[in-house]
Amino acid sequence: MERFTLLLIQSFEAVKAFKLRTFFCLVSVALGIAAITIIVAATEGAYKKAFDIVASFGPDSVMVMSGSDEARAIGQREKTITLDDVEATRQAFPTAYIVIPTTWAGSVNVSYKGNRYQTQIVGSSSDYSQAWTWPVVEGSDFTDEDIRRYANVGIMGQEVARELFGDQSPVGKFVQVRNLPVQIVGVLSERGTSPGGSSLDNRIVMPYTTVMKKLQNESRYVVGMRLRFTDLENVDGRVEELKRLLRYRHRIPDGQPEDFRIFTPKDIVKFLVALTGSLVVFIGIVGVISLIVAGFVLANLFLLSVKERVKEIGVRRAVGARKKDILMQFLTEAVMITTAGGVVGFILGVISAQLLTYVAEFPVYFSWKAFAIGLVLSWVVGVGFGLHPARQAANLEPIEAIRT
């Protein structure tokens, strides 16, 4: 044990003594590890965010959206789902405990006593809060009765509530939605931003009947519908059945693309991982390249160092160091430097990731995993690239080394 301590102390003295070598190796390793740290943190952040979203979206939930992928890609919003489709779906799926139509109108002007704001109007049936696992924190949801009566009522997101009412409670007050006076009956909890980056709290949810008739002049079509299933384990199968049902109802021949799209929690995870993925690949390539460069910097500087320290190696061999002792010594020095580089790199990674989240909405999450991966990689670089110079040192002939 004492010998091991002595080895560490002497290696540390050498690391301190050959400052330039230490500095360059440390910096190059640190840059590589910083990049790797960001990747791990970004990947973890993306997954964590994805699972947060899935948890709030509901793992048992499915969303059906009107319009083919092609139409959506060029910005067309054709409505293809009808209220009859919703009703037929409700009949066909006994395990779907929620089937609600959803429709919306974007960028609608709303006002309250001279305060104006643009918001999204969402039309839904009375179980909106339950369907989206989105609690009403003040007041209450609207009722089935409101749906039937085309009532001018709504529940409000936090952002629009703040903009129109400030610190006041909106519950019971009337706001102007376009020219329609609407009474606010409840306020939704804070929800944050969607994976795409838009605020989810800027919305007013109203009975779909009211939205269709009084705001959209629409009698049949909605934007989509939302389902939740009690048999969570069968969701994949249910999605296939639902697809078949809607294809049949829309009379889409085999081989033709659907005029609707079904989203599941899996799609959300895929979307977010794809979003993060390109950045991860980019930083990943940069990180791996800089680690390899760091490795070559280390190998070269250590080869120089071995040449410079021929006498030292000779003396150590003369006083009894075996080849493997010399090998160990140089590897210890290399790993000591790369470990320090790993720690510095982790700190650099944390700082730059903070900057990254500051500039762009980008989920990062630091755990012991990011640190451990960085540390292990720094050891791999230290041992992997330190091995060749260390072998050179170990295989020096002692009499060559100490020849005066």
């Binding site: 002595l6 002497q10 003295e13 006083v319 009894g320 160091a321 075996r322 002792d325 100490i402």
Partner: protein
């Protein structure tokens, strides 16, 4: 009576130089008893460095029988040779060869780093040795802060830390002025008086005069 520290019988050593073999040692017969103080004298090219490398187990002979500290050196592999050097031989070099980045104390402790049989309180022993050569105030210094004579005294302490049978000094005073050389030779003499077998390799007759036995080497052959 204890067995000899070193027995060499008909030792030869050849090197390949270009296409031909160059025989540097041409049949050395030499026995060194425990407690002897021996000087090996020769000019450069006489083969004295080669003999010193063999005696220090840094190299192996081409032919002949060589026993050191009771071990047949020609039968040992690289690791065993290292172990033998570590336990039984202490080296003192002309250019000291201290580690520039380590302290005086750490330099003295280097051989203990490679010692298989663990010894207690090596640190205390290092301080004790340094005190004997008058460097107790300098243990935290770096070699560059010391004079040549002081550096060589540190090197002698390093050679003695593992308590070897044989102290092998190769031109130990070659880089020192004559007064400092005298100090160093006195240190070696005192080590010999306390029972160490000392072999000094030199070309300087004044240095050889400290030894009780002087061996001349010329063209790879020795004579007393």
């Amino acid at each position: 009576m204890a067995s000899p520290v070193c027995i060499m019988e008909n030792i030869t050593k050849s090197f390949h130089v270009g296409d031909q073999d160059l025989q540097v040692l041409k049949g050395i017969n030499l026995t060194i008893e425990q407690g002897e103080f021996t000087a090996i004298m020769g000019t450069s090219g006489s083969g004295k460095s080669t003999l010193m490398n063999l005696m220090g187990c840094l190299d192996v002979p081409t032919s002949g029988r060589f026993i050191l500290a009771g071990r047949d050196v020609t039968q040992l592999n690289d690791d065993e040779l290292s172990e033998l050097r570590n336990e039984h031989i202490g080296f003192v070099f002309q250019s000291f060869y201290l580690l520039p980045y380590a302290t005086v104390l750490e330099n003295v402790l280097v051989p203990t780093l490679y010692r298989e049989k663990k010894k207690d309180r090596v640190r205390d022993r290092a301080v004790e040795l340094l005190t004997l050569v008058g460097l107790e105030e300098r243990i935290k210094f770096r070699p560059t802060q010391l004079s040549g004579g002081e550096q060589q005294r540190v090197a002698i302490c390093r050679a003695l830390i593992n308590d070897p049978e044989l102290l092998l000094a190769d031109e130990p005073t070659g880089q020192l002025d004559s007064r400092t050389a005298e100090e160093i030779m006195n240190v070696l003499t005192r080590a010999n008086e306390r029972g160490k077998t000392v072999v000094v390799i030199t070309h300087d007759a004044d240095i050889a005069a400290y030894a009780r036995r002087i061996i001349q080497i010329r063209d790879g052959i020795i004579s007393e």
